[in-house]
Symmetry: C2
């Protein structure tokens, strides 16, 4: 197809909260990444693209620089304008930049007939995200969906994934941004040890309860927890629920009705069982 008059295919990519992680650097960005675990969310990024001379991103109506996007488009040898919508805040631990990188890869592949597979597109987005320093494991988790456990770091063919077999309701509140780059460029020794320990425990007992326990221990041991988040975690615990901090953001998330029960007014979504995918395919109409 040349598709010049077709509506661009639209992609949905789930958001992703990282509960805990350990950075796994490597000179090869396809091998680099992180171990850890998290939750793919029904709140995510809806995205479409249109051919354009300059590669740009418009997020919720505002031109927004999303570093990995230009590199994704270059890998596919195309240039395009990316139109993205999301209810999630940027820089608050929801993997929005990873979602836009992965969504751009899927959408551009469909729009320009690039002929790549899902693993190839995931690898392109993972590499772009790692090279930009905006994330280490969101892309592979967002390509999987569900409650991903990242057993080994890296793109498809290098990394290894498992999952927690559950689909809980999720509540979250955000108190502001936390820079992924600044945390990852600092001393990560304590963080790495805490992340590896939480992962070992989760592999032995792959349940929601263990994920949340690991997340709370991790944010404390890694010295990342911030005051508003700590207060919310304690308030949820007092109300009989379970909450933790999203990595890396000033964000608290809870299972079920944890934040509501503690008197907060959270956003509400669910664990999303699918990975990133086309939701409309111009060649194969509904």
């Amino acid at each position: 197809m040349d598709g010049s008059d077709d509506p661009a295919p639209t992609v949905f990519v789930p958001g992703h909260i990282t509960a805990f992680f350990s950075p796994q650097p490597d000179p090869d960005p396809l091998v680099a990444g992180s171990r850890g675990a998290g939750i793919a969310l029904s709140h995510g990024v809806s995205l479409s693209i249109s051919p354009a001379t300059d590669s740009t991103v418009v997020l919720n109506g505002e031109p927004t620089p999303i570093q990995p996007v230009a590199s994704v488009l270059r890998s596919l040898d195309v240039s395009a304008a990316v139109h993205a919508q999301t209810p999630l805040p940027l820089g608050a631990g929801f993997g929005v930049s990873g979602a836009i990188a992965l969504g751009t890869a899927l959408s551009a592949n469909a729009r320009f007939d690039c002929g790549r597979s899902v693993n190839e597109l995931t690898a392109i987005a993972h590499r772009a995200e790692v090279e930009a320093g905006t994330g280490l494991g969101d892309v592979v988790a967002q390509a999987r969906g569900g409650m991903p456990i990242r057993l080994e770091p890296g793109a498809p063919g290098h990394g290894e994934l498992d999952g927690i077999p559950a689909s809980p309701r999720i509540e979250y509140c955000t108190f502001g941004e936390l820079s992924t780059e600044s945390v990852l460029s600092g001393d990560t020794e304590a963080l790495t040890a805490a992340g590896e320990q939480a992962l070992s425990a989760l592999v032995a007992t792959p349940t929601i309860e263990q994920l949340m326990h690991g997340a709370r221990t991790f944010s404390t041991d890694a010295g990342l927890v911030v005051t508003e988040v700590q207060q919310a975690i304690e308030a949820v615990a007092e109300a009989g629920g379970t909450a933790a901090m999203a990595m890396l953001g000033r964000t608290v998330f809870a299972i079920g009705t944890g934040l509501s029960d503690a008197g907060y007014d959270p956003a509400v979504c669910r664990c999303y069982p699918a990975g990133a995918h086309l939701v409309r395919d111009s060649e194969h109409p509904r």
Copy 2:
């Protein structure tokens, strides 16, 4: 939880059409399986279980022997009554037995707090299906969702998957049963060669068009195509569409509106982007 009064969690497992395959036998059922490709369907199996002394399956209200189920429940050291609903016919190439095996594993794990991961539960269902001889690759495809390409055979940790990045509408018509066991126990040399050839071509060009081309060539070269299916494939082609035979069943499936356009009255569903998952979780209510 003891959960005695909780409603059993409900699982959804997509149906799965195999477009082409090559059997990959091995003495170890976790290593055995098939290479090939197919489509996970929004028509699938909804399943719940309840504790019971004898392991039984009731499918669409009728007691139905589904061979792998008893073995799945034994692997988890539980016994239970399985209640399953599906719009898909049994024995017609939709992976219903694999769906029930995998759904039983996920549902029993949740109901009895077995503490297994998604990969472990998928491996249990894959092994049960291979040992029963009822399927070779449906379970791993149904755990993934989308349009799975089975690059290497076997359960998680052994097999390797990729996918076609597309989400087409699917139509299908079924003309009766075809026994998986009888085809797989016959001479599979031509079938294996045809399956490997179709896979190589799809890996080079991972698109819907290539999948359908490979499926048509495979069913002819493997000597599996049956008269009613061949007639329908030709009628769809004459109407400008693309259709192929589902392995292993007297079933024809088409992309988009292929069968409708050719004057058939097909069932209509879509490619389903998610793998098998819990849709309700008694511990973590909506």
